[in-house]
């Protein structure tokens, strides 16, 4: 039985999404508790991946494919959770690049790092209007928004997003973090964001702070 948890962890560590999905399905067939599969299997695996990345042994593709393996297996296991069983996440984050802006890589990287650090991430993609962020917050009941902007012309959309949250009556409930090359700490303060981070690793620390969780 514990063998199955180890195998799930290993599939994440090895970055084998297909194996992870097959194992998750098999585990459910065997009648294993899906929450145990997540906490004793997948989560252990992604923690190890995070450690290997932090120590310099893993490169980005290993980190990202590991996170993918976890995500794919979660799609099988989460719907099988019963009653009030819930996966333990630090916080749920809605992440996207603002309207008019198609720069994707920085945002995606921030998402991967958050996932690998125990956040649930809803990545809504690039070129997203404020309303899409608001809808997504409602849909997944998020408490943090991460908004990326790489253009001086689209940075201003981050301010619009904050206004839209206000109008939707959600501003008290969600913390907003902003980032992207032209964005600065000062700009973030000026538009009333809750935080700014200059790279993906500081973004994780910032998200921990905003989630009020220990770093």
């Amino acid at each position: 039985m514990s063998d199955m948890f180890e195998k799930l962890a290993q599939a994440v560590i090895d970055g084998e999404p297909e194996d992870a999905v097959a194992l998750a399905t098999e585990a459910l067939d065997q009648g294993l508790d899906p929450l145990d599969c997540i906490t004793k299997g997948l989560t252990k695996g992604i923690q190890k991946v995070g450690e290997l990345f932090a120590s310099g042994e893993y490169y980005l593709p290993e980190l990202i494919i590991g996170a993918d393996a976890m995500k794919d297996a979660l799609e099988i296991l989460e719907p099988a959770l019963v009653g009030d069983q819930k996966r333990d996440v630090v916080a749920t984050v809605v992440l996207g690049t603002v309207q008019g802006d198609l720069h994707e890589i920085g945002k995606t990287l921030v998402g991967t790092m958050l996932t690998a650090n125990g956040f649930r991430v809803k990545d809504i993609g690039v070129d997203q209007p404020a309303s899409a962020f608001v809808e997504a917050v409602k849909e997944v009941d998020a408490t943090i928004i991460g908004a990326s902007a790489l253009l001086t012309t689209t940075m201003l959309q981050q301010e619009k997003l904050i206004q839209a949250l206000d109008e939707a009556g959600l501003r008290q409930k969600v913390k907003v973090m902003v980032g992207g090359a032209p964005v600065t700490d000062e700009f973030a303060k000026r538009i009333g964001a809750d935080g700014y981070a200059e790279d993906a690793i500081s973004a994780v620390n910032l998200a921990y702070r905003l989630a009020d969780a220990p770093v």
Partner: protein
């Protein structure tokens, strides 16, 4: 009123650097044809999809992916012009594209400026665009001008304000990096028409052109493409620029990254030709690397072999090429890194034979402006230019008669031949400027002084009062309509 004459000194050479064999070029072209035919490229634009459908490409309206049969690619590519003219405000500075000549411009478009007096870092403004356009006009190494920083104080119409302030400070051809979308581009055409007097004149000698980026991998930008179609109709040149990043937005292998980039450029070029056969288009792939640990954008790893292979690919398709030089990652004005990374670029890109080259004078991966940086980088460009000039061998330069006069052990200082040639034999760069005590000055100090001097003394001819009035009216209308 003009106080000093503007001249341009492009790199000229008959030498050619070939880093790809004919067979490799064919392989790469075949890869592009295969990608276009089987994988396709996403064109999220109804206009673009309709044009492709009309000409028999396979269009999936749902996924917005367009697959182009090779016959259609080849047919469309047969109308793309190999050489054309980039008109300047001053007709003497018109650029006629031709083999063996490489025209350079500055980098763009940064968003931060470090003030040379206060050392403070701040957001760029319309005034900064004007300041750099004036410096560009003065420097002979700059054959045309580019939006060096963004006019962030002008909001959504900043691309139009950037044209306006450039024209008031610069008499060369202007290439925009920021005009996006149909509306802005229509205003751009209107401004060009006012400047030239008629749309026919714009077509003959287009005073502006535009950079349009594709989104690696294999996606076109709706706004960029629809804006480009507006310009194509007016005969205004565009550059289709792909920026594949190895490992993130492209395969982590050179050939694969170039194939992705080429498929993007060619798909947009095909569209431009189908819509307006003969529309002038430049080919450009500026590939970079993603740091495998952080995804940071890296332009200058140790191994950047075949840096200018895309220039050869462009020529293989029968298109003129835009090559990228400069763009150091260093945030510092004058560190070892900021010079070393880019030092060989102008030489290599000149040897590769790119028709136009962008990128001098910014730091921190094209985001940070020190106004004086362009004076330092200007030296690297001239160095490359001189390296490729022929050495003259003649009785006068061999100077055997002078050598025999001096005899073994003598010296040449007292020779008339030396008096005649010594003044020009050593060309002074920024590192060889003397102070009043005959000591070499610090290059940065000299560069700052030169910036101040240019801004004080160089006053390029501005558009006539009549033209300016019309431009102001267009800006007002655009501000009203688009800022709303």
């Amino acid at each position: 009123m003009s106080t000093s004459q503007t001249i341009i000194t492009p790199i000229k050479t008959d030498l050619k650097l070939n880093c790809l064999t004919d067979e490799q070029l064919s392989q790469l072209q075949e890869a592009t044809l295969q990608i276009l035919e089987t994988v396709g490229v996403k064109f999220p634009s109804d206009k673009a999809m309709a044009i492709f459908e009309e000409h028999g490409a396979q269009v999936d309206r749902e996924t917005q992916i367009v697959r182009i049969p090779r016959e259609l690619v080849m047919q469309a590519m047969s109308t793309v012009p190999r050489y054309f003219t980039l008109g300047a405000r001053n007709p003497e500075l018109d650029l006629q594209l031709q083999d063996g000549v490489t025209f350079f411009t500055n980098d763009g478009c940064g968003h931060d400026v470090v003030d040379s007096k206060t050392g403070e870092r701040r957001a760029s403004t319309k005034a900064d665009v004007g300041m750099m356009a004036r410096i560009n006009d003065y420097l002979s190494s700059m054959s045309f001008s580019w939006t060096m920083v963004s006019a962030q104080d002008c909001g959504v119409t900043s691309p139009l304000h950037e044209i306006d302030i450039t024209w008031r400070n610069n008499t060369k051809h202007y290439q925009s990096v920021t005009m996006m979308g149909e509306e802005i581009c229509r205003y751009g055409v209107e401004m060009a028409t006012v400047l030239r007097g008629s749309i026919e004149e714009v077509r003959q000698r287009p005073p502006i052109s535009l950079i349009v980026c594709s989104i690696a991998p294999l996606v076109q930008d709706k706004e960029a493409i629809e804006g480009a179609l507006v310009l194509g109709e007016a005969g205004i040149p565009i550059v289709v620029m792909s920026m594949p990043t190895m490992g993130t937005t492209a395969p982590a292998t050179y050939a694969g990254a170039l194939a992705v980039g080429d498929a993007e450029v060619i798909s947009a070029t095909v569209l431009m030709q189908l819509a307006n056969p003969g529309a002038p288009v430049f080919h450009s792939i500026l590939h970079a690397w993603a740091d495998p640990r952080t995804a940071a954008y890296v332009g200058y790893p140790l191994d950047s072999r075949a840096r200018y292979a895309p220039v050869e690919m462009a020529h293989h398709w029968g298109m003129p090429a835009l090559g990228g030089a400069f763009g150091t990652e260093s945030p510092e004005l004058d560190s070892w890194q900021s010079a070393a990374e880019v030092a060989t670029d102008p030489l290599l890109v000149g040897l590769a034979g790119a028709e136009i080259v962008t990128g001098i004078g910014l730091r921190d991966s094209y985001t940070l402006l020190y106004p004086e940086a362009i004076i330092l980088d200007d030296d690297l460009l001239h160095q490359a230019r001189y390296s490729l000039l022929n050495m003259e061998v003649s009785p006068e330069t061999l100077a055997i008669d002078v050598i025999s006069k001096v005899q073994p052990g003598g010296h040449f200082l007292s020779q008339k031949h030396t008096r005649k040639h010594m003044r020009t034999a050593m060309v002074r760069g920024v590192c060889h400027q003397l102070d009043s005590e005959g000591k070499y000055r610090h290059p940065v100090e000299y560069a700052r002084e030169k910036v101040t001097w240019i801004l004080k003394n160089h006053h390029p001819e501005t558009p006539s009062a009549e033209v300016q009035k019309e431009i102001n009216r267009i800006l007002e209308t655009a501000d009203k309509e688009l800022k709303g």
